[in-house]
Symmetry: none
């Protein structure tokens, strides 16, 4: 019951993007099509089903307010969080401000990431992708313990 996989999507002139059909039924059942979009440090957008988001939001709010990193995270994530719904065609309208943040142009990419979805500008995604493929295998020195033990 997790999001996974990659989809090419088009963002039209009005800032709408069609949710892939395979996700729609699940989104309607799971949360009545109510979603929350916010931003990520890596300059992509995050899409959560509303109930999932609320869990994350309360975790964020609980963070110590005197910690600078925590405040930054709160402003970034909670500050940009926008609730929106799918229209009758299964599309969502991304607010202009969030589109700008992620540098979204016409072509975008939607990535399933477990509890959430990520939206990337296509160009940004493919560039980052190449870097990752090489960087993941190169610096094996700094891997956290959990990663070292991972068996695929």
């Amino acid at each position: 019951m997790h999001f996974r996989g990659i989809n090419n999507i088009a963002v039209d002139a009005k800032g709408r993007m069609a949710m892939p059909a395979r996700y729609r039924e699940r989104l309607l059942e799971g949360c009545g099509g109510r979603l929350v979009v916010t931003v990520d440090r890596d300059h992509c957008l995050l899409v959560y089903p509303l109930p999932e988001w609320e869990v994350i939001e309360s975790k964020l709010i609980e963070l110590p307010s005197l910690n600078k990193q925590a405040r930054l995270l709160q402003r970034l994530l909670i500050g940009h969080a926008t609730e929106l719904e799918m229209d009758a065609q299964g599309r969502i309208l991304l607010p202009a401000m969030l589109r700008d943040f992620a540098g979204l142009k016409k072509k975008a990419v939607l990535i399933g990431q477990g509890k959430k979805l990520e939206i990337w500008d296509e160009e940004t995604w493919s560039q980052s992708q190449e870097e990752w493929v090489t960087s993941v295998q190169s610096d094996d020195g700094e891997l956290p313990a959990a990663l070292e033990e991972l068996s695929l």
Copy 2:
């Protein structure tokens, strides 16, 4: 209940490939023909029976979201993981994006690797294979502990 051995397979114009007959019955019994394909850093594709994949996926999701290496792995593996089923002829349709990633052309190679299968472009495979035969025996200096104790 492990996959092993190597098969030459053809990828047709629509991106379909026939699963070797000896695997089909097992795949239907084990997971109702439900498979997950994702990518590997070595530019090949990995095919898991759905239940096997879900184990790996949950491990990945549990990794700390603030760790950069973890995020890269998540985006690479979960981000490309696509669920698919065999059709009536025992074929699977590989998404265009994954075919591109692995550089798949008409001729490919399917390799049993225990819990999973690997799909390689034939040319890439034969090239890599030669390199490995030489490189595996050369760098015995940096083996992790588990490898040092391995008795073949």
